[in-house]
């Protein structure tokens, strides 16, 4: 697969890999480039998945569990005894309880008790089967209260193998109460992916806000920091330092099953995207695992894993060297370049600069320039500026997407003045007009934040043309918005960029 890079291109990148590896304080030499291997298959073979099997219930067992549940709900002084009896059934009670919980013909109190007991069973060392059924209820029950209740009970489960699939509920759960308990249970399992959502619920000032706030307070006490700081740390390279529970082998097995879902064997993009969503919302422990998959034999796995690391951003900082090495793998290199920009390690500056040079494939250059823009380090400025100027030549017309990437990067690096006139033309007439529009918006925002003369008023006019909240612009409306913005900005552009 590396055949796509010619020896010169490969040599240039390898040299910079060496530079990137220097200064680590561990006398590193040029990092070795791994060979492609069946990484996913090997990991899955070496990890033991959770034992989620539960015995199929007999009719007698079904009746017994229902009787005990009835006693639990209505049995007066026998309530606790019934509960104890149910618990002693262990795994044998799991499927009957799951079935009663789902049975809409039963009294809701009875169904709630079934979920409660599944929660108790999930706290046992062998509670994976009960946890699995709680996750199933959280995922597929049609009644929101049942999903919420099952999600809540997952918060006390001792089986963390369900955690990755619980993350997906953040994307699909439409009921705020159920969402609250999904987010809470994730946090209790060591994953703060739902903390932002919890904070949003807590800010709404309704009855649910009180419950959301109580969960946030619990999280703050456990992790000894404020929710806002925790959220910030979770989204940064500091996530590794958070005192979060380490994943069990069963959870790692789940993670690798999801990596397998990224492969070419999965035709539909939706499950691929679900797997990407889950993996990119997990903690730094997941990033550490994924780094190895950058060298799997399946090109889909390699590329999608790079995309996952990109979406994790600085939380995946520990994978920086693995990503730098993966820049040499031609099929995945563009996605890796963008991931490096998002992960944000200063060590990736030189490899990205090398990848942006004219001797590299166009696809990689564009991605590397995007990566350099996201990285935002001043060390990239000269190169990007030079590139933007070179591409002005009419003979470079076919490389205009590279020029657009470099213009946007200049804005990100705080030197957007030079690109602003061209971006304005692109916004009004070019093929990448929505990207150009975004870049100009960013340029005005940065200028305003920096207190530059005239920027605040220009930004105000720019924002006045924004689409109303919740609206979806038609093609006609988007064109007229850009025209209006273009007209307004061109009137003041010269004064904004005047020295």
């Amino acid at each position: 697969m590396r055949a796509g890079l010619n020896p010169g291109q490969l040599g240039g990148l390898l040299g910079l890999l060496f530079l990137a590896s220097c200064g680590r304080g561990d006398n590193s030499t040029e990092p070795a480039i791994p060979s492609l291997a069946g990484v996913v298959a090997e990991r899955l073979a070496n990890l033991t998945a959770a034992d989620t099997e539960a015995p199929v219930p007999t009719t007698e067992r079904m009746e017994l569990t229902q009787e005990l549940l009835q006693t639990r709900v209505h049995g007066g002084e026998f309530r606790d005894l019934a509960f104890k009896d149910l618990a002693t059934l262990g795994k044998a009670a799991v499927l009957p309880l799951a079935q009663w919980a789902r049975d809409g013909s039963l009294d809701n109190a009875l169904r709630q008790a079934a979920v409660e007991l599944l929660g108790v069973l999930a706290q046992e060392p062998s509670g994976a089967a009960a946890s699995e059924r709680l996750l199933d209820l959280t995922t597929t029950a049609t009644e929101p209260w049942l999903r919420a209740h099952a999600a809540w009970r997952l918060g006390t489960s001792h089986s963390d193998h369900v955690l990755p699939r619980l993350v997906l509920r953040l994307n699909y759960e439409s009921d705020p109460e159920a969402f609250l308990w999904v987010a809470s249970s994730l946090a209790r399992g060591g994953c703060l992916a739902g903390l932002g959502g919890l904070m949003d619920l807590a800010s709404r000032g309704d009855e649910r806000a009180t419950r959301a706030q109580a969960e946030i307070t619990w999280i703050e006490e456990q992790l000894a920091d404020s929710a806002a700081k925790l959220l910030q740390r979770w989204s940064s390279s500091e996530a590794s330092a958070l005192p979060l529970a380490a994943p069990s082998e069963a959870q790692l097995s789940e993670i690798w099953s999801l990596v397998q879902d990224l492969s070419g064997d999965t035709f539909a993009l939706r499950p691929v995207d679900d797997a990407r969503y889950i993996l990119s919302h997990l903690g730094p422990w997941c990033a550490r695992e994924l780094a190895a998959a950058l060298w799997d034999t399946d090109p889909y796995v390699r590329l999608h894993v790079a995309q996952v690391l990109e979406r994790m951003g600085p939380r995946a900082r520990e994978t920086e060297m693995a990503l730098v090495v993966a820049l040499t793998e031609v099929q995945v290199a563009p996605a890796v370049a963008e991931a490096l920009g998002s992960v944000g390690s200063p060590r990736s500056l030189k490899p990205l600069l090398a990848a942006s040079q004219a001797d590299q494939p166009h696809e990689l250059r564009v991605a590397a320039v995007r990566g350099l823009g996201d990285l935002g380090l001043p060390g990239a400025l000269d190169t990007i500026q030079e590139l933007f100027r070179e591409l002005k030549d009419p003979s470079q017309e076919h490389l205009q997407d590279l020029r657009l990437a470099s213009a946007k990067a200049l804005v990100q690096l705080g030197s957007g003045d030079e690109a602003s006139t061209w971006l304005l033309q692109q916004m009004e007439h070019g093929p990448g007009n929505s990207d150009a529009e975004q870049a100009i918006g960013l340029w005005l925002t940065k200028g305003t934040a920096g207190g530059r003369l005239g920027f605040e008023a220009a930004l105000r006019h720019w924002q006045a043309q924004s689409d109303p909240p919740g609206s979806i612009p038609s093609a006609e409306r988007a064109r007229s918005r850009r025209t209006a913005r273009g007209q307004q900005l061109s009137q003041v552009l010269d004064s904004l960029i005047a020295p």
């Binding site: 035709f267 963008e338 997407d401 590279l402 990448g432 990207d435 609206s471 038609s474």
Partner: protein, 342 residues
């Protein structure tokens, strides 16, 4: 006459020398052209290029509806098919991978014609042409389109019909021969849901009075895949209103029924697609649906509207209307059929 024959013979000999005789082993090889952009195809393939440039394949990245529905592609799952790498790179019938560059070219010439070895796939081999196309039968296979178009299950829907055995297939309807002449090659405009004529031919609408009720029947008669096909984006709505003096007057409509497959996150919305006519034999799904309602006294008109996006937006400010509150569907849809019930 002899002169003419002589010229013909000379011409054939020249063609033979240039095209069929292999080059000398020590001849200077010409540097193979590296195909990096569809713009390179334009000079020789002007007709095809113009058709493609006007097609929705070419606009798959820059179309405002796509930008809106993908949140300017921050929903990155859309990139794979809206700016794909070559189909041949990952193999026919497999998923495509997303491009990082030239995204504004959308589903471009290279996405379908570039071979992993840097060559070009075509329907005939022509070593003398600058791009030296190589005849690859895969280009005409349904599986070729499936990498992208079956992500929204269109190809699966077609495979469930007897048409999978007998035809027609994707190209017959969406990439027909120019003017019906196989010698003129296939049209690269790839007409689909944006072509109102095609949509009108795919579905019928009938309405009749039965007692106090009006029974409206809508039927997928095209039979090759569901109506509409596609998940999420496409939709069709049936509206009714009392007959007005001016049939072209806007407004006054009441929503009756929606035909659409919801997006995966719209978990509370059922799929109401009209399945393919011919699929009855294989899946048992009915392509015909009747909806009854009781309007007030008097003549009414019933109409079917087709939508390229699932929501109704106010054209002036983009404000989104709830479907059941829409009274002027034409603000964000196309009229497919209208029937009057006296």
């Amino acid at each position: 006459m002899k002169k003419l024959l002589g010229l013909l013979v000379l011409g054939c000999a020249a063609w033979f020398m240039t095209e069929l005789v292999p080059p000398e082993p020590n001849a200077t090889p010409t540097t193979p052209v590296k195909w990096t952009s569809s713009q390179q195809c334009k000079e020789c393939h002007q007709e095809v290029f113009a058709e493609w440039e006007d097609s929705w394949h070419a606009k798959s990245w820059i179309d405002e509806d796509v930008i809106a529905q993908s949140d300017n592609f921050s929903n990155k799952v859309c990139i794979d098919c809206h700016a794909p790498r070559g189909v041949f790179e990952t193999g026919v019938g497999n998923r495509v991978l997303p491009r990082s560059s030239r995204r504004a070219e959308g589903v471009d010439c290279l996405a379908c014609h570039l071979l992993p070895n840097g060559g070009v796939a075509g329907t005939i081999s022509m070593p003398s042409a600058p791009c030296k196309p190589e005849a690859i039968l895969d280009l005409s296979r349904v599986a070729f389109c499936a990498g992208c178009h079956d992500q929204h299950k269109t190809v699966t829907q077609w495979r469930e019909t007897p048409m999978a055995d007998t035809g027609p297939d994707c190209l017959d309807c969406h990439m027909p021969f120019r003017n019906g002449d196989p010698n003129r090659g296939r049209h690269h405009g790839m007409a689909g849901g944006h072509d109102l004529n095609l949509v009108q031919s795919a579905v019928t609408l009938e309405a009749e009075r039965e007692g106090d009720q009006i029974l409206v029947t809508v039927e997928n008669v095209m039979g090759a895949h569901s109506f509409p096909t596609d998940e999420r984006s496409r939709a069709a709505d049936i509206f009714w209103r009392p007959v007005t003096a001016d049939p072209d007057a806007r407004g006054g409509w009441t929503h009756l029924h929606r035909i659409r497959d919801p997006y995966r996150t719209e978990v509370d919305i059922p799929s109401t697609l009209l399945h393919a006519l011919a699929s009855q034999d294989k899946t048992g799904d009915s392509p015909r649906r009747t909806i009854g309602f009781a309007p007030p006294q008097g003549a009414i008109e019933v109409a079917l509207f087709y939508k390229l996006a699932p929501y109704y937006r106010d054209p002036s400010d983009g404000r989104v209307w709830k479907t059941e509150e829409v009274t002027d569907p034409l603000m964000d849809s196309s009229l497919v059929h209208r029937v009057v019930v006296p």
